[in-house]
């Protein structure tokens, strides 16, 4: 390899590092004639936690479903690390490091913590054509580590997820995302149906994301939660972004005046 050919590579790498981790450009989406997203552009920087707020039907869910590969956009593009990507399935999004945690639990209650952590990505001791024996010792060991990483301490990786409290379950989901080197974690109303104490616990997990080098998008109805856990507030209404400011430069009063 000559130096001449190496240097553009190097500068491309540098550009990729400088580029925002996710950039949406002019996304449009129609559902049966309803214009759900009207040219939304949003940039998420590395290790930044963005709070996404707005009423029902504002387009929050549509936006994150596009980013997480559940629905394709009708128009517009998504860039990851400055490169244009085509995200067709949740699996593709996960391969790009984008993982989503929904309000309805993303865990299987009657399976153990260790098994839940590795659903769909089981480490195999022996395998033929992608099927084989799971390396259960590895799964147990790694799940204990992954959970301790988000400051959650549980009795045993063999306990069923259904035995955990709602907040602990979200903690395991977040631990799972971090363990699999997710770089962007989308949390769709993760504190719904949780008690005050459990909500605080989950918001604590979200606040800890930048320390793990993970960017986050927290979708919430509750402005207090967003201010507590996020770096930036983005508000949507009628399919458009109508407000976008760092948390430090705004207040609940200003935000409410805006609406």
């Amino acid at each position: 390899m000559t130096e001449a050919s190496a240097s553009p590579d190097a500068s491309a790498d540098a550009a990729a590092v400088a580029a925002p981790i996710v950039e949406c450009r002019h996304l449009h989406k129609w559902y049966a004639g309803v214009h759900a997203l009207k040219g939304v552009s949003l940039t998420i920087k590395r290790g930044e936690v963005v709070g996404l707020v707005g009423d029902n039907g504002a387009g929050k869910s549509t936006l994150i479903k596009i980013i997480s590969g559940v629905h394709p956009p009708d128009r517009g593009e998504i860039l990851v690390d400055g490169k244009r990507v085509d995200i067709r399935t949740p699996k593709q999004a996960m391969n790009l490091g984008i993982e989503t945690i929904y309000q309805t639990n993303s865990m299987v209650p009657m399976m153990s913590i260790a098994r839940n952590l590795f659903i769909g990505r089981e480490p195999l001791a022996v395998s033929i054509f992608g099927f084989g024996l799971m390396d259960q010792a590895h799964m147990r060991r790694e799940s204990v580590k992954a959970i301790a990483n988000v400051d959650l301490h549980l009795r045993s990786p063999d306990a069923l997820v259904g035995e955990l409290s709602g907040g602990q379950q979200q903690g395991v989901a977040i631990a799972r995302a971090i363990h699999f080197k997710s770089r962007v974690l989308i949390l769709d109303e993760p504190t719904n149906h949780l008690s005050v104490k459990e909500t605080a616990r989950v918001l604590g997990f979200v606040r800890g994301l930048p320390a793990q080098g993970v960017a986050g998008i927290l979708i919430s109805h509750n402005l207090h939660h967003v201010i507590e856990a996020c770096d930036r507030i983005v508000a949507m209404a009628r399919g458009e972004i109508v407000f976008d400011k760092p948390v430090g430069e705004t207040s609940i009063e200003e935000f409410q005046e805006y609406f």
Partner: protein, 332 residues
Amino acid sequence: MRASPLRNLFRIYLEKPELAGAALLCILTAVFEARSNGAFLSPDNLRGILGLLPEVGLVSVGVTILMICGEFDLSVGSTFALAPMATSLTIIAGVPLVPAIVIGLVIAAVIGFVNGFITLTFAIPSFITTLGMLFIVRSLTVVISGGFPPLLPDDLATGVFTQYVGPGGLLRASFLWFLGVSIAASAIMTLCNLGNWIRATGGNLEAAATMGVPARRVKLFCFILCSMLAGFGGIIQVFRLQSPLPSIGDGLELQAVAAAVMGGTALTGGIGTVLGGIVGALLIRIIDNGLVMSQVDANWFKFAVGALTILAVIGNSWLRRTARSIKLESPA
């Protein structure tokens, strides 16, 4: 806070749902043994119970796995008849034994595929798809039999399924096949990634799909597996009876669901074990036989199975609710 004995009991129950059925199995065995003055556990009687177990047991294992995956198959009783009918007719047409068995199993697999394909493509309850298939497949069986149960040749080498083996000829060879299939099925469910996917698909379909489990293909696999096991059970029964009656397996679909439920499998999916399905099948066999041995009117058999099924579901859901309402895990 230390775990109380009650909590431990619930935790064990949640992790091993087949234990309640296994306990009942022991109790019933003891009762029947006492009531029959020791005839129940005599070698002759055990030979009868264990000789029939593989045929129904194979169906129960398939139905259990499919139920764990969150789907139903009511057509297993009809598949139980069609697969051996096809095998028998091909044997009578001059095809050797092994290819004829393969043909029967392939036909069973096709039924499973159609069940799964229709259910998943049109997003309708498998309860309905397979109820329709129950009639369709039974009708096909009678049609291709031509109305007469054909007779299998006497010199057919079916001993590999039917001969008595083991100490005192206590078991039929079919029992070893059943044992092998059960161990393999249990290994898939507990040790393999495929088992993880099946349980996740049944336990929380949305979560499984989000985590990249190919849920549609997993379900299709379970439908096909369930039908093939039903077909295999039927083939073994026909080799034992020496003739493929078009009526065999009638009502077996409900017995298999009852067996799965008695073994702790939940109707909602995600909960259950292969061992539980076997325990359930054994329970049904033991009740069937034990009532006769205790000289109770055999017509009470269906009453007992029905009552136990309802009790099992009530018991299971009560235990699950209670176990959940107690906070089992305390933060460390």
